[in-house]
């Protein structure tokens, strides 16, 4: 079971250490590599999450798989979490670390969803436009959702900028329903 409070504490400690050593980007990349592997590799995930296997075995496997690919700080913290039986909080630490890094650099995380993959020019123009509008640095995460029919949708913080056909039709539907309710 994921404990967000625990993940936040680990992430906070890791971020401060990484920031002090100037390896924030490297540690973030490492943790996302481990988190993505946990997400994509079911056998690895089952082994790491299973209470049947000992902590030493899990630490040995982790060292064997990621020892040469990740920073020492990342590896040590991961092994520490394994020794504390907090392996299920690793993905949470990764996302929390990213949030801390963005807060520290005053970067706005924006999720851009489009019906087709955006071109590099489109991405650059969009980020530029959003940065000029918000006055903040934008870190965009791109997704594709064909159900939007056409257009693009941007979500950041508590805001949603919906330029999709599906969104426009939904707004039209709500307007019409509102008018009908007023008539009734």
């Amino acid at each position: 079971m994921v404990d967000t409070r625990v993940a936040k504490r680990y992430a906070q400690a890791l971020f401060e250490s990484a920031k002090a050593k100037g390896i924030v980007a490297e540690v973030e990349s490492d943790f996302h590599l481990i988190s993505d592997t946990l997400h994509s590799d079911a056998s690895f995930r089952e082994f790491l999450y299973s209470p049947q296997y000992g902590r030493e075995d899990k630490q040995t496997l982790l060292t064997a798989v990621f020892g040469k690919n990740v920073n020492v700080l990342t590896l040590e913290l991961t092994k520490l979490m394994l020794s504390k039986q907090r392996e299920t909080d690793i993905p949470g630490v990764a996302s929390e670390f990213t949030r801390l890094r963005r807060d520290s650099e005053k970067i706005v995380h924006a999720v851009v969803t489009s019906t087709e993959v955006l071109t590099a020019d489109q991405k650059a123009a969009l980020v530029s436009r959003l940065q000029s509008q918000t006055g903040k640095s934008i870190e965009a995460e791109y997704k594709v959702d064909p159900t939007f029919i056409g257009g693009i949708k941007v979500s950041y913080d508590d805001f949603v900028l919906d330029g999709t056909v599906k969104g426009s039709l939904s707004k039209l539907r709500e307007h019409l329903r509102h008018d009908l309710l007023k008539q009734a």
Binding site: L130, G151, I152, V154, V165, L169, L181
Partner: protein, 204 residues
Amino acid sequence: MSTEKKSSVSTGAAFVAGVVLMVGGMFLRSKTEGLKESLEKMGLPIDLGMTVAVIGVFLILFPVIQFFFITPLGDAINDRNNTLEQTFTEAEELRAEMQKMRADYEAQLVRTEADARATIQAEVKKAQELGASLRAEATKRADEMIAKAEQEISAEKARAINDIRVHVVDLSLAAAEKIIGENMTTDRNRKLVEDFINGVEVSA
């Protein structure tokens, strides 16, 4: 008291007169043999002396007859008369009492009938009032129910019409979504994206 004294005097006088008449009659018979024979010859077999003597004996025996026969008979008659009078009196009293009871009964009956009539009229009036009240209440409730039903029907009708309109809107938008989806091309999508990028405005 005076009646008894008077009766004893008359009885004594009758006894004396009887003795005188009996003795006189016997004497007269002995002295009137010729007259008796003359009368028998004339076809009248009357013995005057014997007749007077018999009258005297009757007068002597009259108190006895009176004592043993007439007086008890008179007493019995008087008792009978008294009994009859008492019976008649009682009968009259009973009849009067019966008449009085009948009059009372009839008066009571009249009063009872009047009371019953008044009670019936009062109950009828009360029932009529209650009926009118119930009818008014029922009419009021019926009117309220009808008004409520009409209101509900109207609301339900408006709701149904609105549901139909909403359904029409959903169908229209679903059709529009389908048509737009079928006609959406990469160029059109790119145009939409570029329009969005150029026109996007972020509220502070």
